[in-house]
Symmetry: C2
Subunit: 113 residues, 2 copies
């Protein structure tokens, strides 16, 4: 999978609130599909389906322990998304910088009056 295809899979996997909630849970530590199903009030097969999408996207890995196969968050795929988005940071920083400048000007005008 090349970098673009990997980003496609990661973004597609993240476009679901349940999968984002599973990642938030796994950020606290690994968990089996059964442990994940309970708080989310989801069936085992529904959780397993989400875990497969997350695993294919490289966002999690799963242990080999036969019954449990604990899921673990893999930060590298999230870091790739973060690296991609940082390229655009200057765009919103600039926007806020312009607002800052404007507010400073207003303040200076207020002081000199």
């Amino acid at each position: 999978m090349d970098a673009a295809a990997a980003l496609d899979a990661t973004f597609a996997a993240l476009a679901d609130p349940t999968r984002r909630a599973i990642l938030a849970r796994l950020a606290l530590g690994e968990a089996s599909a059964g442990e994940l199903a309970r708080p989310f009030a989801m069936s085992g097969p529904a959780v397993t389906k989400h875990l497969k999408v997350l695993e294919r996207a490289g966002l999690i890995s799963r242990g080999r322990a036969a019954q449990q196969r604990p899921a673990r968050l893999e930060p590298a795929a999230l870091k790739a998304v973060s690296d991609w988005i940082q390229e655009y940071r200057r765009l919103w920083d600039e926007k806020f910088d312009r607002l800052d400048t404007y507010l400073e000007q207003l303040q200076t005008q207020g002081e000199t009056k």
Copy 2:
């Protein structure tokens, strides 16, 4: 659209290499669908379809000038993704911190031998 639904739409819109390339182009300045179609060797309707997905996701806005409707990047939706992902930053930072510590230990061992 609540925050979760907005993130769903943004992530889904970003899960396509052509749409990410369009955003990269728009980061340099606004462009009409026609101007975008040329370098991407895409038909006008294909570009328009991608622009609609990006617009619905709040990633771009389009001008009102009847024929041209220049597309402009809207950084706020990208910032929302960035804010979401920053919650996970400590996970990969910690991973690299642990690697750093390990490498430092190796180096110290090498020096004391």
